[in-house]
């Protein structure tokens, strides 16, 4: 069920909040099992056939963690991590690797159209984070309910944020509604939910109307004029930000209403003045995961410049592949790896850059590489670049209003998270949020109700 759907907002959420409040108040021992049951119900609403997969994934990983804790056999953890990656590869990359294998003469691998279980990219990484830290002696053992909830907690199971066990496990043992700031947390969570919904339906979905027709035209082989190409490229740049950061605001807000603080995922990324700065502000929990569990494992920055650059490029390339089974994702990731490497060399050489130029180069680099990400094929991306650089169709047709609003909010305005955490509990602010929520609900009622972009990853 989508966060931006009536079934979620008018049925699941109120019932879940009521049941959760009742058990927290009268049967605190039941709180975690109830949260887990609600999470499975939420996950199963998409497609109940994926629930056994999620349950199996949790059971197997938890049993391995148990066995490791008791036996201390180191080999178990690398085996489990590999098994998780193999499961992810099977569901997400089977056809991609099969097509690669088919390039070898004599090999004719099978082709399976397997439905991608929602959230598998995210919960696989959760398993890896915990198991790696367990092996390193940093993470303790958890019982099955707590571990299941770490993996399957409904606000974050589908598209993150990627939460470290250390950020969430201790919160499961709290009595969230007994805290002195319980009402404040609930209210701020509700405001975050409303703000996220507003970002999604008023900005992300409007920008989709700007973006989709242009990409459809490019995919149909039509030549784009410079205005159209700009509209498509900038439109998707802002769309993906409002879509994903809106989703994250909703996830964080919902978790807060259930008494759990999840980590931030975006910090005004389009204000970044370098590529390194950008990745500290964009999908922050993924960047953190890639840094701590991949980049450092591949050598990091302490084994010389060559290894550092290679690790950086490899990490970002794999990060690109994580987004989808296709060469465009790989190239997108690799380009960011190369971009980050160039930035490392620039810094090591002691060069500096005015911040306005750094901002411009960073933003332009992201927009141009995101075109490859969105295009789905290099032909379409090439078609786009021709338009962008004046080698496409003649003329200049640009719908700019939503782009201007998107640019202003994402670049100048504070993030929803920042604003909402500063707001005082004034009645007129509540009244403004009432109006915003009502208009959002009417917008959600329209026939065109878009899914979130990051569900596909």
């Amino acid at each position: 069920m989508l966060f931006n759907s009536f079934i979620f907002l008018f049925a699941f959420l109120p019932v879940a909040l009521l049941v959760h409040w009742l058990v927290e108040r009268f049967k605190p021992d039941w709180r975690l099992p109830v949260l887990l049951g609600l999470s499975l119900l939420f996950y199963g609403y998409w497609d109940w056939r994926f629930v056994p997969l999620l349950v199996l994934s949790v059971m197997v990983n938890w049993l391995i963690a148990e066995t490791f804790t008791r036996s201390g056999r180191d080999i178990l953890i690398p085996l489990a991590v590999t098994a998780n990656l193999v499961a992810l590869a099977f569901f997400k990359y089977f056809n991609f690797f099969a097509e690669l294998a088919a390039l070898v003469p004599g090999i004719r691998p099978p082709h399976y159209d397997i439905a991608l279980p929602l959230g598998i990219s995210f919960f696989t990484f959760h398993h890896i984070m915990y198991l790696t830290d367990l092996k390193a002696g940093k993470a303790p053992r958890y019982d099955l309910v707590r571990y299941s909830l770490y993996i399957g907690f409904f606000p974050q199971v589908l598209a993150g944020p990627l939460v470290r066990w250390s950020e969430i496990m201790h919160q499961f043992d709290e009595r969230p509604y007994q805290r002195p700031d319980a009402a404040e947390r609930f209210a701020r969570g509700l405001m975050l939910l409303v703000a996220g919904l507003a970002k999604k339906v008023f900005l992300g979905d409007q920008l989709a109307d700007y973006t989709n027709p242009v990409y459809a035209a490019a995919q149909a082989g039509q030549a784009l004029d410079m205005g159209q190409a700009l509209q498509g490229a900038l439109g998707f740049t802002f769309q993906v930000y409002f879509d994903f950061s809106g989703y994250t605001d909703m996830a964080l807000g919902l978790a807060l209403m259930f008494g759990i603080v999840l980590p931030q995922n975006f910090d005004a990324p389009y204000r970044a003045t370098s590529l390194q700065d950008f990745w500290r502000r964009w999908h922050m929990t993924l960047s953190r995961f890639l840094r701590d569990y991949l980049y450092i494992a591949l050598g990091g920055s302490r084994r010389g410049l060559a290894i550092q650059l290679a690790a950086l490029t490899a990490t970002m390339t794999l990060g690109g592949l994580w987004h989808g089974a296709g060469w465009t994702f790989i190239v997108w990731g690799a380009l960011h790896g190369i971009g980050l490497s160039v930035a490392v060399l620039w810094r090591k050489a002691g060069y500096t850059m005015p911040s306005w130029l750094g901002w411009f180069l960073t933003f332009a680099f992201f927009v141009l590489t995101l075109t490859i990400f969105r295009s789905g094929s290099f032909e379409v991306a090439w078609n786009f670049y021709k338009g962008l650089f004046g080698f496409g169709a003649e003329g200049f047709t640009l719908k700019w209003r939503a782009l201007a609003i998107g640019a202003a909010i994402s670049m100048i305005g504070p993030t929803a998270w920042t604003v909402i955490h500063k707001l005082p509990p004034r009645p007129w602010i509540a009244a403004l949020f009432v109006l915003l929520f009502v208009v959002v609900l009417f917008k959600i009622g329209d026939d065109a109700n878009y899914e979130f972009i990051y569900f596909q990853f």
Partner: protein, 349 residues
């Protein structure tokens, strides 16, 4: 120290109370405002669906047929109806009226399919006090789908035509309704507001012509495309007797519920010759089976049924000057279909 703890506790309690009030205001306020607007919308009845008796002015302001047909379809002035999509839209109620003596309303909705058509037939029938005299239904190839849901990728406000008041109330929660409410109030209280044409006729020739459908060589070239040129020719239908057309089953229920005296005319609208599958192709077998299934479904339960089949090879369908594109014919053909429909009605009535 104790006093400082107690004062910070008091502050926390005070803050907690303020935040509780804030959260309650937000939740209760949202529900109250939402309920208020839906109640207002229900009372104002933005599309004149007849669910509220507060205002007497009939009709709606000019708008698309998806919503305007709620008002047209319940208008007691019409004892006969035409239902379909753009491929029946050019039939003029006035001409049909002159030829038959009936009073027709056009409920055609461009881009709609059998599910939408049957929804509108149901709506029209539900709002008759006297048995309707005639029902003219366009049965194009969209009726031949094997999808039991009769799905259509274009939106249609099924909620507006629902028999369930809750379904309708839920449907009112949409941005379109928020935008429509002030326009509706202006229509209701305006001195001489412009009204959507009550009989639903729309001659779209000028729009098509303005888009270059008769002059632009690139568009005209599309008429020459032959989608079935490479289709395999078969001696017999490989799925003979096994084809299923869910629309036929659904339509049988509607035909069975028609009063015996109501004339039912099924019109298979024309297609330009290149769009008609040549005999012996699988598509042609499917088309034949589909037509037969729908006609049989209707005739078995409603004997007063006639068929006007223009999805056949005939001289008009080979004349490119009579078509905008491969599925949209021009006014001269519309006049001929009106003539055939009128003749069929005269036989039935």
């Amino acid at each position: 120290m104790n006093s400082s703890i107690s004062s910070s506790e008091a502050a926390a309690q005070h803050d907690g109370a303020r935040w509780r009030r804030f959260a309650v205001t937000l939740v209760v306020g949202t529900l109250a405002v939402l309920t208020g607007i839906v109640t207002l919308a229900y009372a104002v009845d933005p599309y004149d669906s007849g669910r509220s008796a507060l205002f007497e002015r009939p009709g709606v302001r000019p708008q698309g047929p998806r919503t305007a047909n709620a008002s047209r379809g319940r208008d007691p002035a019409f004892d006969a109806v035409v239902v379909g999509n753009s491929r029946i839209q050019l039939l003029a109620p006035e001409r049909l009226n002159q030829a038959t003596g009936l009073s027709f309303v056009q409920l055609a909705v461009p881009g709609s399919g059998p599910k939408e058509h049957m929804t509108l037939i149901d709506w029209y029938l539900r709002h008759r006090k006297a048995p309707p005299r005639a029902l003219v239904v366009s049965v194009d190839d969209l009726w031949c789908t094997s999808d039991p849901n009769l799905a259509n990728d274009k939106p249609f406000p099924f909620w507006l035509y629902s028999a369930d008041p809750l379904d309708y109330a839920r449907g009112l929660v949409r941005f379109d309704v928020l935008e429509e409410l002030p326009l509706r109030l202006a229509y209701l209280f305006g001195k001489d507001p412009e009204r959507a044409r009550p009989d639903g006729y729309w001659d779209y020739e000028p729009e098509y012509a303005a888009l270059g459908y008769m002059t632009n060589p690139e568009i005209r070239k599309r008429l020459a495309q032959k989608p079935y040129a490479a289709a395999e020719r078969l001696e017999r239908d490989p799925l003979e007797g096994r084809r299923r057309f869910p629309a036929a089953g659904r339509f049988r229920e509607i035909a069975a519920a028609l009063p015996a005296e109501t004339a039912l005319v099924l019109v298979m609208p024309p297609a330009y010759t290149n769009l008609q599958p040549p005999p012996g192709t699988e598509k042609a077998f499917q088309d034949q089976a589909c037509k037969a299934a729908i006609v049989a479904a209707a005739r078995q339960v409603h004997p007063r049924t006639a068929v006007v089949d223009w999805r056949v090879d005939r001289p008009e369908n080979r004349n490119p000057d009579l078509f905008f594109d491969q599925m949209h014919y021009r006014l001269p053909i519309a006049r001929l279909i009106e003539r055939d429909v009128s003749a069929a009605l005269r036989r039935l009535l």
